[in-house]
């Protein structure tokens, strides 16, 4: 019989290296056991949604980059798509392909940070540096194209800001070739490492019904065993033209939906992204990337909800237009924000050290949780 100890409330964060930003977790403890976890957010709130009402549709693009700053390309991709649907414009094929290539490169970059920092959380420092090394090559590709390494302002409504550099395609191919080998090395170093598996398998199991009830999306949902990916289930852009798999968790090392599954789904998604980029590079058509950019964006009265599969999950933009050059209302459904809500459920009954392992496995970015 365990001795009943007095319950204690422990604040983890806001300045804690493993909270991946400024997040405060209010952890209720019974000895070493976690009874409940309440995330307190808002430290990084920048009022994006209200701010958007004061800007015209083009000016919002750089601010969408600043939500999930590890997946800036994909945020502006989703935003541009939403406004294009609102306006009813069709962008040139080349733009679609460039966006997919950039988006998938960004997915790899985002997952590399996710799995790399996850390694650090668990106590493996080398994979973190390896992840950042490979991400650096992707950032160089982005920089070559649009001039920024993190906040690109690349996907504009109706097109992209700059056409691809002539060296872009060969350099991307070279990177993908290198990256496949690098992933194998990464797997040997971390994924199948006994210590790592011990720390993550059977920890923080997220049953599928809980995941669905909480609205969890992205790799976290797929790790629980549901094949749900908007790129396949609600295809946008040109994703229906590519042949790729949706990896799901299978409980290979423990139970379906545990931390290891969530981690490993990301690794396998990177492999799939490589496939998509390779196909997109093969099919990349010629054309003008600026031809469909409207001179002035003034949608008619109406509203739109448009969603894309961001590296973290379903990223939705709900825009209401009142017929002026500024949106009347802009609402963002951020995947990190929704995924974070399941934290309390996941941590119940685990040890304090597992809270870190669980939080890392959900992969949140506070910039987008708080917006």
């Amino acid at each position: 019989m365990a001795l009943k100890t007095e319950e204690m409330v422990l604040n983890m964060g806001p300045q804690h290296p493993s909270t991946h930003g400024v997040l405060r977790l209010e952890v209720e403890l019974d000895g070493e056991l976690v009874l409940d976890v309440k995330p307190h957010i808002g430290y990084l709130h920048r009022c994006f949604e209200k701010h958007a009402e004061a800007m015209n549709y083009n000016q919002i693009v750089p601010y969408t980059d600043r939500m999930d700053y590890l997946a800036a390309m994909y945020n502006s991709f989703g935003y541009a798509l939403a406004v294009e649907r609102l306006l009813g414009i069709q962008v040139p094929e080349r733009v679609e392909y460039i966006r997919v290539i950039m988006g998938e490169l960004q997915r790899i970059a985002s997952h590399l940070v996710a799995v790399g920092t996850y390694g650090v959380d668990i106590g493996a420092f080398t994979p973190f540096l390896f992840g950042f090394r490979d991400r650096e090559s992707i950032l160089t590709l982005f920089e070559m194209t649009c001039g920024a390494r993190m906040l690109y302002n690349y996907n504009w409504v109706g097109g992209v800001s700059h056409d691809l550099h002539p060296d872009f395609v060969p350099m991307t191919r070279e990177f993908l070739k290198y990256f496949k080998g690098s992933l194998v090395e990464f797997n040997n170093l971390l994924s199948y490492n006994k210590i790592f598996i011990e720390r993550t398998a059977n920890v923080g199991v997220l049953p599928l019904d809980t995941a669905v009830n909480y609205g969890v999306t992205g790799p976290n949902l797929r790790a629980s065993g549901l094949k749900w990916d908007l790129r396949k289930n609600d295809p946008y852009s040109v994703y229906d033209r590519f042949d790729f798999e949706i990896p799901v968790g299978s409980g290979e090392k423990g139970t379906t939906g545990d931390c290891w599954d969530r981690y490993y789904v990301r690794i396998r998604e990177m492999e799939e992204s490589v496939k998509i980029i390779e196909q997109a590079l093969d099919q990349l058509p010629d054309g003008d990337v600026h031809s469909a950019i409207p001179k002035r964006i003034k949608p008619v009265v109406g509203s739109i909800y448009s969603r894309v599969e961001n590296p973290k999950g379903e990223l939705g933009y709900f825009i209401i237009s009142d017929g002026t050059v500024n949106p009347y209302r802009m609402k963002v459904r951020g995947p990190s924000f929704v995924n974070l809500t399941v934290m309390g459920e996941l941590c119940k009954g685990h040890l304090v050290a597992d809270v870190i392992a669980i939080l890392g496995s959900i992969d949140i970015v506070l910039g987008e949780v708080d917006r």
Partner: protein, 164 residues
């Protein structure tokens, strides 16, 4: 409380974790002989490509005057309201010039819209990424700090002509 299950079927060798550590160290050893991918920054400077978006600068012609005609488009398009332009008349061919042109570098988000919208290619993004100020007033760059001879931004202008 749910019962916690852990993988129990470890052999003694695995329990010692020594093979795992040796495997990890092997990789470390291998990496020691690979090319370095870091840069020793303050000693070795990072030279950005022409596409790089550093701080926005005003292009200064060979004659010493700025190209800007003070149309104010850049300050209108700037999402963070960082630019202030005050126009005045001049006897030069371009007729108008900015008496005052200020960019608040604390507000600027390096989006590049000002460069994109400028009809005269008068404001471009430079390669300068080392921005330090001692106080806030120093961060408001006037014409003296913004003007950069055209020679220094030639490759950017070339890049814009090709890819914008």
């Amino acid at each position: 409380m749910p019962e916690k299950k852990r993988e129990k079927d470890l052999t003694i060798a695995e329990k010692l974790y020594i093979p795992e550590i040796v495997k990890g160290l092997g990789l470390t050893l291998k990496s020691m002989f690979r090319p370095k991918f870091t840069m020793e920054y303050p000693e070795v400077k990072f030279i950005p490509p022409a596409s790089y978006r550093g701080r926005p600068v005003l292009v200064q012609e060979e004659s010493g005057t700025e190209r800007c005609v003070a149309c104010g488009l850049c300050s209108r398009v700037c999402p963070s309201l960082a630019i202030e332009v005050q126009a005045s008349e001049t006897s030069l061919e371009k007729e108008r010039y900015p008496v005052k042109f200020e960019i608040n570098m604390l507000r600027c988000i390096f989006c590049g819209f000002c460069e994109e919208v400028c009809p005269e290619e008068a404001i471009v993004m430079s390669k300068d990424y080392e921005l330090v100020f001692r106080d806030r007033s120093e961060a408001i760059y006037g014409k003296d700090k913004l003007m950069v001879p055209i020679r220094q931004v030639e490759d950017r202008i070339e890049f814009l002509r090709n890819f914008k």
